[in-house]
Symmetry: C2
Subunit: 207 residues, 2 copies
């Protein structure tokens, strides 16, 4: 996709529908990630994509639908990464490590997507809230199952701890990204997963 500045009044070259849609999503991701939903104008997205606004409305019924399409796409990617990491081993300690590593890698690879997902300013929208909650619940429940298997804690308590560890992953990974370079990704994700594992592995026995 050429992103060279396009002369005024020169039309954007025609693209097949699917390619145009993908390009619009890419432009939208840039603008939403940089400015948030509320700080982004459809004018800005059109400008970034080097098309006019009606082109956006040809592919997406509204600004909100555009945002939801993007969110869905990136949540699907992340869910797949988490699922792969969880299924990569049957050893619980290695599972926690793999999940933490996958999380950090997702964030290192695509900080725009991570901002879209984890720093949304549209969380009061029910459709956005439900998508994020679905993801968070699935993630935390997967961890809760590991905890319940390893500790014999009742599920209610394992759920709370699952959320705790999911929170640990999310917040620490964002912090690591913001201070990037202080610690290599291997060291950072390993450190946090060791903290997590040590916390888990001593339940319910207590020193």
């Amino acid at each position: 996709m050429s992103t060279e500045p396009r002369a005024a009044s020169v039309r954007s070259p025609r693209l097949p529908r699917d390619e145009r849609r993908a390009q619009l999503l890419s432009a939208a991701l840039e603008v939403f990630a940089a400015n948030g939903y509320h700080g982004a104008a459809m004018d800005d997205i059109a400008e970034t994509a080097q098309v006019s606004k009606p082109v956006l409305y040809q592919h997406f019924p509204s600004k909100r639908e555009l945002y939801l399409a993007l969110l869905d796409s990136h949540l699907a990617t992340l869910e797949e990464l988490m699922k792969t990491a969880l299924g990569s081993t049957s050893d619980n300690r290695e599972r926690v490590r793999a999940v933490m590593r996958a999380y950090y890698e997702f964030i290192a690879k695509d900080d725009k997507a991570h901002r879209l997902v984890f720093e949304s300013d549209l969380v009061n929208d029910p459709d956005v809230a439900s998508r994020l909650e679905n993801f968070n619940r699935g993630f935390a429940e997967a961890i809760a199952r590991v905890i319940a298997a390893d500790t014999k804690l009742p599920m209610v308590e394992a759920q709370l701890l699952g959320r705790s560890l999911a929170g640990m992953a999310q917040v620490s990974a964002r912090y690591w990204l913001e201070t990037s370079g202080d610690l290599p990704i291997d060291v950072a994700s390993d450190l946090v997963s060791r903290l997590a594992w040590r916390g888990i592995s001593r339940f319910p026995k207590e020193a």
Copy 2:
């Protein structure tokens, strides 16, 4: 403050400036907590306060300044609670426990304030972002100091773990509130602080 419906065209009773300001902040908290910054209209806040919009602008230069005033007020309260909990003991394990408990109590007591602080949809605003970051940094650094003292880890690594545990506290407390009644506050905050403590207390020695 009377919140009985006011007859149309009947003026709101005069209040001294300070009382009115406090009342407006209270109404604003309700509306911002329920709808977020972007979903709240000044009309809504005026209606909740049972005054007209110009009265809002008499006390706050703009919608954004009103929001920042509220945020400052509640962040100050939370910071005080955290400071008190950290200073309540010199035993590191009890510190972690006291901080977790204080966090859960803040959230149990005032879910509107917690939503304002932790689920803001104005995080792209630099002034909001910096306030939240200042709080988060202070909180995580306090925990990092406990970790560094107890584990002899270098500060860079203790900082990352501090953020991890701060994230654990925030996300788990929100989840606990949403599933309120599943676990009593004592059990929930104790569980999470034990997870945190076990994670910390085994660094750097490894089983």
